[in-house]
């Protein structure tokens, strides 16, 4: 069966052997049909990103997912390098750069902080969505639809069962995206994509 949407997960984790949450998440979806996982730190340990190959892969897929820990309210540095090099002018943006037009892109992040401390005045001043603005704007400039993010909150405190549940949710989200099951209106209005499956 040909999936409705082909999904490309670009997975950025520099310390996978010590990861608790992301490792379980990526393993849960690694074998999923219609989903192509790329372990970016294994592919480019020396940061020598193969720009042509990365662009080729982007064009072959409908939904791009940046999966990574939410280091310093952002991403591990290889993702920044990837954005800088792969999303070239004339390919991803600019007058002639329409290769990614109409594709969907989503952030799948994990953070130690609980959901309620983001955007609360006393702890973290900004919401996760506000902090993800650079990624969202990047997608906009490339004429892609930025989907609501998949966020694993409070990862420091999750026990193994809770982590497995999160991974299960992640899998359901990916299946839903792959098969085109989420109504467009929901995708526009939701703060997190997690909210659409609970």
């Amino acid at each position: 069966m040909v999936p409705k949407n082909k999904i490309l997960i670009l997975f950025f984790h520099p310390l996978l052997h010590k990861s608790r949450v992301n490792r379980v998440l990526i393993n849960a979806v690694n074998e999923l049909g219609g989903v192509n996982c790329r372990f970016m730190y294994d592919l480019y340990p020396d940061y020598q990103i193969d720009v042509r190959e990365e662009q080729e892969l982007l064009m072959q897929h409908d939904i791009i997912i940046w999966q990574h820990p939410f280091y310093w309210y952002s991403a591990p540095s290889l993702l920044k390098e990837w954005l800088d090099l792969v999303l070239e002018h004339g390919f991803a943006f600019g007058k002639e750069g329409r290769a990614l037009e109409g594709k969907q892109v989503m952030s799948a992040i994990s953070t130690g902080g609980r959901r309620d401390i983001y955007g609360s005045e006393e702890k973290v001043k900004f919401s996760v969505r506000a902090l993800l603005a650079p990624f969202e704007q990047t997608a906009n400039l490339c004429r892609m639809h930025y989907l609501p993010p998949f966020v694993s909150h409070g990862t420091y405190l999750l026990n193994e069962e809770q982590i497995r549940n999160t991974a299960e949710e992640y899998k359901r989200v990916l299946k839903g995206l792959r098969d085109g099951n989420f109504p467009m209106e929901d995708l526009i209005n939701a703060e997190y994509i997690n909210d659409l499956i609970s």
């Binding site: 520099p14 310390l15 996978l16 372990f39 730190y41 294994d42 340990p45 609980r114 409070g154």
Partner: protein, 638 residues
């Protein structure tokens, strides 16, 4: 020889070698000359430790030549040998023919009979396999054009010894002949007289036996021996193989050295080849040394004393005639400038076969005893001169030849300035040079391998022959205008010489150097060079990353660990350097050096182990904190 005198003799020979060879090497003469000088010193005319038994020793030690040819055969696969056929028979054959004619003519002009002239010509036309190959190997020239050509000529000479031996009895004038060898065509094998045709058949069957045995049987023989796991039995078997081959050849009247060579070639593809090489090598070295010592000891200096003028002019004539013929032939056969003088000098002496042939000729009444002893001395002196001539060639002629060859290209390229000089273009320099040149840098390359030079010239590089340890070479390479000098030679002493020279004369030059080992690293730190890298460090580390990956580490983790280790190593190096400065006395005993270094390295590693741990992005400590910090608020939120 009784036991006591055996020990005494052994002590004399060994002591002479142990003292004179290192001294000769230190002075840059090479080991052959060292052995020869040792022989002269212990011989009858200086200290007189050894007398007439030296001749027996020489015959025994000639076996070193047999072993050497076996080893050379092992290096030479049959197809390679086939590829050399033109230079063996063309170059080698012409060399012997022309040299024999010229030398023979001179001999006849000096009053020898025609028969004696032919014998002398053929005898002195031969060169010394032992000296030439040993010297060339020591200089690392065997793979170069001059080395290959020399080898071809020597091989033909070895083959030629057989017919020459057959020819000499025919040259004898009956009045001088002792008469025991009137039936020339009859050879004695064992006690049985046989005629020529049978002998040819025997020769052919022995050669066939060696080839067939080497190709099909030796393998199984050595497999059985190897299974015993006893090293000395393997050594014994290897020796047995060489000696029995030589004996078999001698029995049917062929050159034992040739037989050993043939056996070597046949076994070149054998799986036990390296094992055999390692086993035979020390015997060869010792026997050859012994051979050179006995040549040195056999020199009759009283003859030189009584008529120095005649001996010396004969010596000059011999070397001169051979040199000119070799030089012309080298040209014709396409050996280029510097390589050709090397080739001509290396073969311009008389050889060890001359000793055999001269005595054989005397026995057959072809030569008078007086002539024989003169020939003996001239040949021995010419052999002793060879290492000196080659050194002269290296130091004086080679640079001249190469410089004149360079002038035109030099002028053409000089217009553009080359900011970069690379000294040494071997395995290390090549990668480096290619990288820099690929990025648009123009470089001047100094290398002492003429073959490399030829290729590089073809691609338009500015190349000079030489090891850059000479001031004039650095100057002509444009060191005064260059910005960076990279020292990539694989010889520690040379490397330091170049650096000292450059720092003294061109203080503006940035110097980057390949470092061979710890000791070298320290020396480079002493000189304060602008940068150095241990030559195998990066590739070992890269393979280490691969290994960790195959052992289940994430690629990026392995990569970072290697980066950390790289930094850690330079820290350890600095630490050890300080240490090294403090107690240099430890390093006095060279043999211990490496072990000491290793010990210090691992010790410093242990103390510095914390730096090896990669804590980046690790959240374990954060995790602990979060659990404590979050507990009350978690309860609150419930």
């Amino acid at each position: 020889m009784d036991e006591q005198s055996f020990f005494l003799n052994a002590i004399v020979y060994l002591l002479a070698a142990v003292i004179s060879v290192p001294v000769a090497k230190r002075l840059g003469f090479g080991s052959v000359l060292g052995y020869l000088i040792a022989g002269m010193i212990i011989g009858p005319f200086v200290l007189g430790f050894i007398g007439s038994e030296g001749d027996d020793v020489m015959h025994f030690a000639e076996f070193g030549v047999v072993m050497m040819l076996f080893l050379i055969g092992l290096e030479l696969k049959p197809n390679l040998l086939w590829g050399m056929r033109k230079s063996i028979f063309g170059l080698g054959g012409l060399q012997l023919l022309l040299s024999a004619l010229a030398i023979g003519a001179v001999a006849i002009a000096l009053g020898q009979s025609i028969g004696a002239g032919v014998a002398i010509g053929l005898t002195l036309g031969l060169s010394s396999t032992a000296i030439v190959l040993q010297t060339l190997a020591e200089k690392g020239l065997m793979k170069q054009a001059s080395g290959k050509a020399s080898f071809s000529v020597l091989l033909l000479q070895d083959i030629a010894v057989v017919p020459i031996l057959a020819l000499i009895p025919l040259l004898g004038s009956s009045s001088l002949a002792p008469g025991h060898n009137t039936h020339h065509e009859v050879q004695y094998i064992g006690n049985v007289a046989i005629d020529g045709w049978v002998q040819v058949a025997l020769m052919l069957s022995v050669i066939t036996a060696i080839v067939v045995g080497g190709l099909y049987l030796v393998k199984y023989f050595f497999r059985i021996i190897a299974r015993t796991g006893l090293r000395e039995v393997f050594t014994a078997a290897a020796l047995l193989l060489v000696i029995s081959t030589a004996a078999l050849m001698e029995l049917v009247g062929l050159s034992p050295a040739l037989g050993a060579f043939l056996a070597g070639v046949v076994l070149a593809n054998n799986e036990y080849r390296h094992e055999m090489e390692a086993d035979i090598e020390p015997f060869k070295g010792l026997l050859l040394g012994l051979f050179f010592i006995s040549v040195g000891a056999s020199m009759d200096f009283s003859l030189l004393g009584s008529s120095p003028g005649m001996i010396l002019s004969l010596l000059v004539a011999l070397i001169g005639i051979k040199f000119v013929i070799l030089f012309i032939l080298g040209r014709i056969f396409g050996i280029r400038g510097g390589q050709n003088t090397m080739f001509a000098f290396s073969l311009a002496q008389g050889g060890e076969f001359a000793f055999v042939l001269v005595s054989f000729s005397a026995d057959n009444g072809v030569l008078t005893p007086e002539t024989s002893s003169i020939l003996f001395l001239v040949v021995a002196l010419s052999m002793a001169l060879t290492p000196l001539l080659l050194m002269l060639n290296d130091k004086l002629i080679m640079p001249q030849v190469c410089k004149t060859e360079n002038t035109r290209e030099e002028d053409a390229i000089d217009e553009e300035e080359t900011p970069l000089i690379i000294a040494g273009f071997g395995r290390f320099g090549t990668v480096l040079g290619r990288f820099l040149i690929a990025n648009g840098m123009s470089a001047t390359i100094l290398d002492d391998n003429p073959d490399n030079i030829d290729v590089l010239r073809k691609f338009g590089f500015k190349v000079y022959y030489g090891d850059a340890t000479r001031a004039d070479l650095l100057a002509s390479a444009g060191a005064d205008k260059a910005k960076v000098l990279i020292v990539a030679v694989d010889d520690r002493e040379k490397s330091m010489k170049i650096i000292d020279l450059a720092q003294r004369n061109y203080p503006h030059l940035k110097i980057l150097s390949r470092a061979m080992d710890m000791e070298h690293t320290y020396e480079l730190m002493d000189r304060g060079v602008d940068g150095f890298k241990r030559d195998v460090f990066e590739s070992s580390l890269a393979l280490g990353i691969e290994a960790l990956t195959h052992l289940g580490y994430n690629k990026y983790r392995a990569y970072r660990l290697a980066q950390t280790f790289r930094i850690h190593t330079s820290r350890v190096d600095n630490e050890l350097y300080k240490h090294h400065k403090e107690d240099e006395i430890k390093y006095l005993f060279e043999a211990n050096k490496y072990v000491l270094e290793l010990e210090e390295l691992f010790q410093a590693e242990k103390e510095d182990a914390d730096h090896l741990r990669d804590e980046s992005w690790d959240i374990s400590s954060r995790l602990e904190e979060a659990k404590e910090f979050n507990r009350p608020s978690q309860e609150e939120s419930r």
